[in-house]
Symmetry: C2
Subunit: 188 residues, 2 copies
Amino acid sequence: MPKKVDHQERRTLIADALMRVAADQGLEAVSLRHVAAEAGVSAGMVQHYFRTKDEMMAFALSVVRERSQVRVTEAIARLGVDPSPRLLLRTMIAALLPLDEGTRDDGRVALAFLAYTAVRPAAAPSLREGTRQLTGFIAGILPDGHGDAAAAGLLALMEGLGVYLLGGQYTAEQALGALDAHLDLIFA
Amino acid sequence: MPKKVDHQERRTLIADALMRVAADQGLEAVSLRHVAAEAGVSAGMVQHYFRTKDEMMAFALSVVRERSQVRVTEAIARLGVDPSPRLLLRTMIAALLPLDEGTRDDGRVALAFLAYTAVRPAAAPSLREGTRQLTGFIAGILPDGHGDAAAAGLLALMEGLGVYLLGGQYTAEQALGALDAHLDLIFA
């Protein structure tokens, strides 16, 4: 009888190794060789599940995105019914910022992906669509008189706070202080 | 008589090659081998001027920083005497954003460096000092009642706009629109 292979289990094993390499050494260090060594399997086996570096990077980003969606959903659920627009936005953005070690790992992966796609824009058409949807969602929550430009600004502020949190330029307290100051202006 | 070597010229040749590799293929692609091939010299010769990848990356960032300082100084000089605080800030931030092809190349290098140091914070202590100085400078220009938190927010907004300009999520018009909307709130 041929040996039974649990593909789902193997894929998860390799995907977990991929995420650990990306978090520890940076997304640019993700390679067949590195991931194989981390997972304790052959490079050929990794290649069976992820054929190219682009595929591995896109997968890492999709994992990070799913996790952040879960965090946002859970944080908003904790607000109870009918939170104020300001509290809703503040909660959503805070849940997306790399404020603790777990979210920092994810943030590093996302930042490396942004740096990668800045050189190869074709690698991430979905990035643009995701930003467009998020801007539209935020614009719908903002008070009257604040349009797409204010939503685009708030999203950019969030992205910049994330970059400075990851680089250690801002503490969590400073980042949340800057976010609150900005929301004070919008919801004055 | 020994052959005379112009070290300054050679260093410039190699540094230029390094910047081309960083702009075309991304900072993570910068390596002795790549830079040597681009400059048309041996890997050993590159190593004579830049010993490690960290040294090459730090050099690339210092070039990008110097260029952006020159851009800011020139843009502010064009404003003439005694510009309004709002115009001063708007001009400074616009000069730092990757709005055209030349500044986009520089922006890609800066973004890759940020992604790199997010994984290795020790690689860039000067990054934190630079951000601190810039935040202090901006805080001094803002109207009364807006403190460090507003300055930190404005700087983060600029960084995020840069990221989204590089990734193609925002057009130049959208980025400047978001900046103006933000300045409208601060200088209301």
